[in-house]
């Protein structure tokens, strides 16, 4: 596989979220959460600092609760591999408003750059498709990102899955809030729910 011309993660996420409107965005543990924070803090951002393997299921829970809102999960290849069964669960539920984006740098960047399974054998697009997510694609260019971003607003044609090969550079961390009760209650408030 060619490593040339891989996309830069912050540009990818910035472009995906540039016109997010009312979308809820869930960021997987690690660099994906920093990328979402770098694109701009937002009351509908759901930052994960743990719960590795849980990002897609958290997104599914929001998507089922709020079927009229676009829900976008942005996570990494390592986090996605740990929760691969959740693609099967999503494929069964078929939430029209859920988009799953995997930023695939083929390494565990937070822990020293060890190779992940996607570097050698695993094709996450194929996994998603065989789990019943018909709209599953690999994205390789910024033009494709720009074309894909508006489709995330369509709450009836999902679930959709995109794997985007990115370069493995470790960028400066952009730290979001890591207070879970703040993050979840801010989101609930933005959706019109009062504290208990």
């Amino acid at each position: 596989m060619s490593k040339a011309n891989l996309l830069e993660r912050r540009s990818v996420v910035g472009s995906l979220l540039a016109d997010r409107k009312d979308a809820v965005v869930v960021g997987g543990l690690g660099a994906s959460t920093y990328d979402i924070a770098a694109a701009g803090d937002h009351e509908r951002n759901f930052y994960l600092w743990g719960a590795m393997g849980g990002a897609v299921m958290i997104g599914l829970g929001v998507a089922l609760a709020q079927p009229d809102l676009p829900v976008v999960v942005i996570t990494g290849d390592g986090e996605m591999l740990m929760g691969m069964g959740s693609l099967a669960t999503v494929g069964l539920q078929k939430p029209g408003n859920l988009t799953i984006v995997v930023l695939d740098n083929e390494v565990y960047g937070e822990t020293g750059g060890q190779a992940s399974h996607t570097a050698a054998t695993v094709d996450l697009v194929g996994v998603a498709r065989s789990c019943g997510i018909a709209d599953a694609r690999a994205i390789a260019t910024m033009a494709e990102i720009e074309a894909f971003a508006p489709s995330m607003q369509d709450v009836s044609s999902g679930p959709r899955f995109a794997s985007i090969k990115i370069d493995s550079a470790n960028l400066e961390r952009v730290l979001s809030s890591r207070d879970g009760t703040f993050i979840v209650n801010r989101m609930r408030g933005a959706l019109g729910f009062n504290p208990i």
């Binding site: 849980g54 829970g61 009760t181 989101m187």
Partner: protein, 181 residues
């Protein structure tokens, strides 16, 4: 000792109906589950309820994460599983504390009260301790007539006080699984 068959063909028990009524009264909307024979009657009721979304899982930890998302999106949920699945949840249970979730799980017990299969015993023996070490309050029901008040109390403290709670439904209640050739 009660016996139970592999398939839910026996006379319907009333306690699963009690649980279903409580879940409806508390406006529970998302019901993730990994199937268990002890939950089969309740799962059937959930699958037939228009107000509830049944979500079959590939592993129990998915359900913990799903309920975190459900709560963020304004809905209550309950996770149905058997005791062997509790160990699959351990790291994900941290979400119940991190988000102060109104987390409720109903767990059918194996590995106790006349168990035939030794492979169920280690996890069944540590189920309560695993929950408690994870910051989850544990209540138990062992007799049909106490299920209603135990589940009602659990739902009340989970949903009203955001106190993560597990109800262990004893093997004595559901009956030891019978293995025949």
């Amino acid at each position: 000792m009660h016996a139970r068959a592999d398939t839910p063909t026996e006379t319907a028990a009333s306690w699963p109906e009690d649980i279903f009524a409580i879940l409806q009264r508390f406006d529970v909307r998302q019901v993730p589950y990994v199937p268990d024979a002890g939950h089969s009657q309740l799962i059937e009721r959930v699958l037939g309820a228009s107000s509830m979304r049944a979500v079959p899982l590939t592993t129990e930890e998915e359900g913990v994460a799903l309920l975190a998302g459900a709560w963020a999106g304004g809905q209550r949920g309950v996770l149905l599983m058997q005791s062997s699945g509790v160990g699959n949840c351990v790291n994900m249970l941290s979400l119940t504390q991190i988000f102060r979730l109104p987390f409720l799980t109903l767990v059918t017990m194996r590995g106790e009260w006349g168990e035939f299969n030794p492979w169920q015993v280690p996890m069944g023996s540590s189920t309560q301790a695993v929950f408690e070490l994870s910051g989850i309050k544990v209540l138990r029901a062992s007799h049909p007539e106490e299920v209603r008040e135990v589940v009602e109390a659990a739902a009340g403290q989970a949903y009203n006080a955001c106190t993560p709670t597990a109800v262990l439904l004893s093997q004595r209640l559901i009956g030891a699984k019978v293995f025949t050739k």
